[in-house]
């Protein structure tokens, strides 16, 4: 009922305002504000008004292992992304190498988080848009089976997180040097059976969303993701772009910068040339699709829609579904190959300097950078979540998409704008916590 | 009544057959196995799952698994009890006990019928058998039996194992629950030897099992060896809790100020009650569904330490931690006896080890409800006055201008195996018997050292005996340094002058078993550099990297480059945490008073400060009356006392 507030709030006869005071079915609190004058978009804002939590300051003076537990709290949906990015950052700075089974368990954790996050978004947050419904509850009234299928997938993702991480939200098993404890094979046995089911559910998800009808909205965007020669990008890889960029993950600041934009309280990241760019499932499939699990690749091929992913952001729901196949199939392979590590963690020694890394959160590339002293204590931190990187692209797309809804009734036009925003699966809670406008941020690493 | 068959012997390899037989019988075998750094009781499939070669170090608030040295590497039961207890299987932490349903306008309730698996418990210790008997009495043999317990208990076969090792926290001997196990108290009883197990069966089930194992009869040697190793455990544990009259004494001290002091340390975490093998308190909660009106009543372990346990609408009747600790301790050692005719404690020591802040019931009971007088020691060689055994002076050497050490050989083995801090009476025909602390034991050579200060004519005569001289010795006498109280803690040893001599065997023992203790600090003070006894030892100790040592003298002569001043200056300003430390102090009474006062200021608790007192001693066994100190006879109850038990007698003049 808030959608459409402020209809025609503008003064002039040919000025229209599309305003959603509080966006729904997104994580966190954001506001949509679009102003059109004489069919020209004069203002397109995704305004993040959630109160800041100062995370980059909260981690100052803390040990690496404390940082792992603190940064989880940035996001209730993707805590593993924050924890793993920090773990990798510290380990790369301290020269720590973990055993292959430990690496496999961490990847398994990430698979669990992708499954849980993507299933949540596809079924509970995004699917209602394609069916013109306000929520999954209404969807369940029409087709309970579909919602149950989504909840089951989400459950299996959460179960992976619970077994390997202790609990789905804010897991406790990750530490610098490895894990606090590695599960015995028997503990993973129950998951194994569930994952056969999960792969099938994920494949069914691809078929389901391939049938979703979406607005036509073609646009070329600069795409950015990690790419790894041997595996679909999650924990590791180099930063690549559709423009041919190829950087070590620590070197994110060499290509990108964050800037303050008037009127919104979160930062926008852009390339140093000032270009907006897009992260997330579509970007990953486009740039790193060669490394897809065969089952995921086949699922995508079977839809015949692979070509639309790069250009139509409304197809991102398909990219997310394909990644559900990727994450479930890979999790199953990891379980089959699992050998319990001899020791869950290796000792490490802090080294002063810069600890930086990037991983692929469900929503896209996440970058962390910490300056640590001799004792390994963090003295300065920069965390760039995917949503603040996507924000410039989202606003650019809003402006580009707006003309196509101007002739629709106001409520429907607003609904479509909100739908567009959900295509990026924005995590506003994450983005809002990084209202770090310190001047040194613009210049990259000192 | 069947006459008990003699014990049989099962070679080590037979243990796997035992496990296999039990499994063939359709039983799940629950036995000890190492999980997450401790011995737990879980299902085992073969001896490979047992804690082979593992032993443990336990002290208040600390537990570590360690690899057994030497022959212990083969042993399956070379550990003492861990945090787990068998009640997990007889009285599980959570059990569904009833279901309620509201359907079609009627409400129905039905109990949940227990369907326990057939189990075999392998490795139940004496204290644990006693715990099962206690829970039998509470949950099975009372006016109303708990059906779940009864069914589970009936479904378990019990194979016991006698302890051949003891932890510093054990006190089964005081509670009368071990380490020996009577064959009737279990289906089968094992005693582990280096190459196998002595078997005794106590029930028909046990006899049948024993027969199927086809063991050979045990040799007399094997039986004797088994008896000796269990007896050794009994000796190591001693008798740390005075249970005689304890229920009444405790009831009389419900207003003791100590309860509030304990509450300052007590976390109220309930660990003691949950690791206790006899605690049986529970709460029932409802688990109800969201879709319908079905609900299940779940009974779960609770604890008198949790806030809701004694709560009514207006609040908790026992709202302070001190109330809760008092409830627990008095229940275990007093009111349990009223309710069930026996103590609620079996002396397993779990509540001592697994208290995160190391609160020790033995220590607290001794403070809150001390016995009227200390019980006499079991005195192996302390025969009547006049009953001396012969020994011979092997060698003598001067320690200081007025002190000489005599090395005595051919000493009665009981004396040569005495404890640090004990003393002997020494005499020669014509001389009065003189009490002298043993300043070093050589148990393997039946020899001891005595360091004698020539304070009077008799001691002067003894000091000047020539090698080869025979003399008479009685002992060992008195109570020595409580090394077991120091296990797992930092130890500070402070001596003044010849006061080092009675401490020397304690230092030997600390350093011989160095890993059992935390930081070891040795401080010695002497009047002048010349008055330092045991100079070689002082130098050796000071050179050890795992010892912090310091020395001082009152007056430095030429050549002394060390500190000058009173001994307390060596440690009163240092950066060390004394709160969990144990102190042993010996020297002139003034020096001991100053030292104890400094240690107390540093936060050492009075029951952990031990001093060796000097009094006129003649009989050595508390009969002649000379050595009285307050309520104690120093010869029998001391000479080593804790500061706490001495009370005012430690500081008052003329006592």
């Amino acid at each position: 009922m808030h959608a459409g507030d402020g209809v025609a709030a503008g003064g002039g006869a040919d000025e229209r305002v599309y305003h959603v005071e509080e966006l729904t079915r997104v994580e966190g609190e954001g506001r949509l504000h679009l102003r059109v004058r004489d069919r020209e978009v004069v203002e397109a804002r995704l305004n993040i008004f959630e109160a800041p939590r100062y995370f980059e300051r909260l981690v100052v003076g803390r040990t690496p292992d404390e940082v792992i537990d603190i940064v989880a709290r940035i996001c209730g949906i993707c805590p593993i992304a924050y924890q793993l990015t920090a773990v990798h950052a510290f380990e790369s700075a301290f020269g720590v190498t973990v055993d292959p089974p430990v690496r496999a368990l961490r990847r398994l954790l990430y698979c669990g988080e992708w499954i849980e996050s993507h299933a949540l978004h596809v079924y509970l947050l995004h699917a209602p848009d394609f069916l013109g419904l306000p929520s999954a509850v209404e969807l369940a009234k029409l087709d309970r089976g579909v919602v149950e299928q989504g909840l089951r997938l989400k459950r299996i993702g959460n179960d992976i997180l619970a077994v390997v991480g202790g609990r789905p939200i804010h897991p406790v098993s990750l530490r610098v040097g490895g894990l606090y404890r590695a599960p015995r094979r028997e503990e993973l046995a129950k998951l194994r059976a569930d994952l056969d089911e999960a792969v099938e559910l994920a494949q069914a998800t691809v078929r389901l969303v391939a049938g979703f009808e979406a607005p036509e909205f073609e646009a070329r965007r600069l795409l950015v993701s990690l790419r790894h020669p041997d595996e679909y990008p999650m924990n590791e890889g180099r930063i690549v772009s559709s423009d041919g960029l190829d950087l070590a993950p620590q070197d994110w600041p060499l290509a990108f910068r964050e800037e303050q934009v008037e009127g919104t309280s979160a930062l926008h990241a852009r390339t140093h040339a000032g270009e907006a760019y897009l992260l997330g499932p579509s970007a990953r499939l486009e740039l790193a699709g060669a490394a897809l699990h065969p089952l995921a690749a086949r699922a995508l091929d079977d839809t015949g829609q692979a070509g639309e992913l790069a250009t139509n952001v409304f197809r991102s729901v398909l990219a997310r579904a394909v990644e559900l196949v990727q994450a479930t199939a890979e999790a199953r392979d990891l379980l089959d190959a699992y050998e319990r590590p001899r020791v869950p963690s290796v000792p490490w020694r802090p080294a002063p300097g810069i600890a930086a890394w990037a991983t692929e959160a469900p929503r896209g590339l996440l970058f962390h950078r910490y300056e640590v002293d001799e004792a390994g204590i963090v003295r300065r931190a920069t965390i760039v979540p995917p949503t603040s990187q996507n924000q410039a692209a989202i606003e650019a797309d809003l402006a580009r998409f707006a003309p196509s809804v101007l002739d629709l009734p106001h409520a429907e036009a607003t609904r479509r704008l909100e739908w567009l925003i959900r295509c990026y699966d924005p995590c506003i809670s994450c983005a809002a916590h990084f209202l770090d406008l310190s001047l040194d941020r613009d210049g990259g690493p000192a | 009544m069947v006459t008990a068959a003699p014990p049989s012997f099962l070679p080590r390899a037979g243990l796997d057959r035992l496990i296999a037989l039990l499994r063939d019988d359709g039983r799940r075998v629950i036995g000890p196995t190492v999980v997450d750094g401790a011995v737990a009781y879980e299902e085992i499939a073969s001896t490979a799952d047992l804690p082979l070669g593992w032993s443990d170090e336990q002290s208040p608030g600390r537990y570590r698994l360690v690899e057994s040295p030497g022959p212990g590497r083969e042993r399956a039961f070379g550990y003492t009890v861990g945090p787990a207890s068998w009640k997990r299987y007889t009285f599980p932490p959570r059990v569904d006990i009833g279901r309620g349903r509201d359907a079609d306008g009627t409400v129905t309730y039905e109990p949940v019928a227990p369907e326990p698996d057939a189990l075999a418990f392998l490795g139940v210790r004496g204290c644990e058998l006693a715990a099962l008997r206690i829970q039998d009495r509470v949950l099975r043999d009372g006016p109303v039996a708990d059906p779940d317990y009864v069914a589970r208990r009936r479904a378990a076969l019990v194979i016991a194992v006698e302890c051949t090792v003891a932890a510093s926290t054990c006190f089964c001997t005081s509670m009368g629950t071990g380490p020996e196990i009577a064959r009737e108290s279990a289906d089968l009883v094992l005693t582990e030897l280096d190459d196998g197990y002595l078997l005794r069966s106590g029930t028909d089930d046990g006899r049948r099992l024993e027969a199927r194992l086809d063991p050979r009869p045990a040799t007399d040697d094997e039986v004797a060896h088994a008896r000796a190793s269990v007896a050794d455990v009994r000796r190591r544990i001693g008798d740390p809790v005075a249970v005689q009259g304890l229920p009444g004494r405790l009831q009389a001290r419900l207003d003791h100020p100590r309860w509030a002091e304990i509450a300052e340390r007590c976390l109220g975490c309930a660990n003691c009650t949950l690791v206790c093998p006899t605690c049986f308190c529970t709460s029932v909660t409802q688990r109800s569904d969201l879709d319908s009106r079905d609900s299940v009543a779940v009974r779960g372990w609770d604890s008198c330490f949790s806030g809701d346990f004694a709560k009514v609408a207006g609040g908790s009747f026992r709202w302070r931690r001190q109330d809760r600790y008092r409830q627990w301790l008095t229940h275990k050692f007093s009111t349990w006896v009223d309710q069930f005719g026996a103590f609620g404690c079996v002396g397993c020591g779990r509540c001592v080890t697994w208290c995160p802040v190391g609160i020790d019931v033995r220590e607290e009971l001794a403070v809150i409800a001390p016995p009227a007088a200390r019980r006499p020691l079991p005195m192996a060689a302390a025969a009547a006055p006049g009953d001396f055994t012969p020994a011979r002076v092997e060698r003598t050497w001067p320690e200081t201008p007025d002190t000489t050490t005599l090395l005595l050989t051919d000493v009665d083995p009981a004396i040569a195996h005495g404890a640090p801090g004990q003393f002997v009476m020494v005499t020669r025909p014509g001389l009065p018997a003189v009490p002298i602390s043993v300043s070093r034991y050589h148990p393997e050579g039946d020899a001891i050292e005595l360091s004698i200060r020539a304070a009077g004519p008799a001691t002067a005569t003894l000091s000047s005996l020539a090698p080869g001289t025979p003399l008479g010795v009685r002992g060992p006498l008195g109570r020595g340094w409580p090394l077991e109280a120091a296990e797992g803690r930092d130890v500070i040893v402070v001596s003044g002058g010849i006061g080092l001599s009675p401490l020397r065997p304690a230092i030997d023992a600390l350093l011989e078993d160095r890993p059992r203790y935390g930081t070891v600090r040795l401080y010695h003070g002497a009047r002048t550099p010349n008055d330092r006894p045991h100079k070689d030892d002082l130098a050796t100790w000071a050179a050890r990297p795992d010892v912090e040592a310091g020395e001082t003298v009152d007056r430095a002569g030429t050549g002394w480059t060390g500190p000058v001043g009173v001994v307390t200056h060596l440690f009163d300003a240092g950066r060390w945490d004394a709160r969990d430390a144990v102190a042993f102090v010996c020297g002139p009474e003034r020096m001991m008073q100053a030292t104890v006062s400094t240690l107390e200021d540093r936060g050492l608790r009075p029951e952990r400060i031990h001093v060796s007192m000097e009094r006129h001693m003649e009989c050595g066994i508390g009969l002649c009356g000379h050595c009285q100190l307050g309520r104690f006879f120093v010869c029998r109850d001391g000479p080593v006392f804790s500061r706490a038990e001495l009370g005012d007698a430690f500081i008052l003049e003329g006592v």
């Binding site: 079915r25 109160a51 939590r53 509970l124 909840l151 000792p347 809670s429 | 300052e264 976390l267």
Partner: protein
């Protein structure tokens, strides 16, 4: 607890938080469709675009109060709610972001933001109960799905929810876990922390870090002494409380000046490499 209608009208809203506690509602996957039948979810912006501004029979509030407009909003929400349930560490104790209460907010703002006047934040991050009457508090970071399920079942059944205020140790021992303080020298806040999580951290061989906040009758001083005996410098021992529930009494009082942050050039006694090397046997 006031009587509730047959199908209570429920709202789920947030203040400053990570969304994890309201996500826990969606994590009750098996029961979710039963829940929406038993309860009329009229407002839950994270999950539905149907909105309502009340009145609510039950209002779940996630997040801490950290901005001035939230104070007003909370008062309005309270006025429209019969039963107000605070969910999670942020709502019940201020959450991780309350660590900024140990700094000068102006200070922080000035070092972090070029134009602090843009910031609409309060000096102190506080729990909801500092501002309005709270009927039920569900603790945890995040809240436990089991406790949430229990609360919902109890609301339907008309009984007091079983949300015990006992120590984590009880759950730990019921699970048969080995005490990590005694057996591994871990710094575990379990003895002074409220149960509810299921003793997850000890099951992973690490000490509890206090997600559920202080239990009833916590003896923080004694636990700090124990940590010191294990070799932690006094400030380090006390800094263990500077976490998720730092602002909750008596954790708050134990925390040294500066909160969780170690001062520069004072790294001595910091558990870093040595602790990592003490990985469980």
């Amino acid at each position: 607890m006031p009587g509730l209608p047959l199908r209570p009208r429920v709202g789920v809203v947030k203040l400053t938080s990570c969304d994890g506690c309201q996500l826990t509602i969606l994590d009750l996957e098996e029961e979710l469709l039963s829940i929406v039948e038993a309860f009329d979810i009229v407002d839950f912006p994270e999950a539905t675009s149907s909105r309502s501004s009340g009145p609510y029979d039950i209002l779940f509030v996630e997040g801490s109060v950290s901005a001035p407009d939230q104070v007003e909003r909370l008062a309005e929400l309270r006025a429209r709610s019969t039963l107000l349930v605070a969910i999670g560490a942020c709502a019940t104790a201020g959450g991780i972001q309350a660590l900024r209460n140990w700094g000068e907010v102006g200070d922080w703002a000035a070092t972090v933001y070029p134009d602090p006047s843009l910031l609409q934040v309060l000096d102190r991050v506080t729990p909801i109960s500092d501002h309005v009457k709270v009927d039920v508090e569900v603790r945890g970071c995040p809240i436990s799905p089991d406790q949430l399920r229990e609360l919902l079942a109890a609301l339907l059944a008309g009984r007091r929810p079983q949300l015990p205020d006992e120590a984590v140790c009880l759950e730990c021992k019921r699970r048969g876990l080995t005490c990590v303080v005694v057996a591994a020298g871990a710094t575990c806040l379990g003895p002074v922390t409220r149960s509810g999580c299921g003793a997850i951290c000890p099951s992973f061989g690490r000490g509890c870090y206090g997600c559920f906040g202080p239990r009833e009758q916590p003896n923080v001083a004694s636990l700090v002494s124990r940590f010191e005996l294990d070799g932690l410098a006094p400030d380090e021992a006390r800094r263990r409380f500077a976490g998720i529930n730092a602002w909750a009494e008596p954790y708050r009082d134990a925390i040294p000046r500066g909160g969780g942050a170690r001062p520069e050039l004072a790294a001595a006694g910091v558990p870093g490499e040595t602790e990592a090397a003490d990985a469980r046997r």
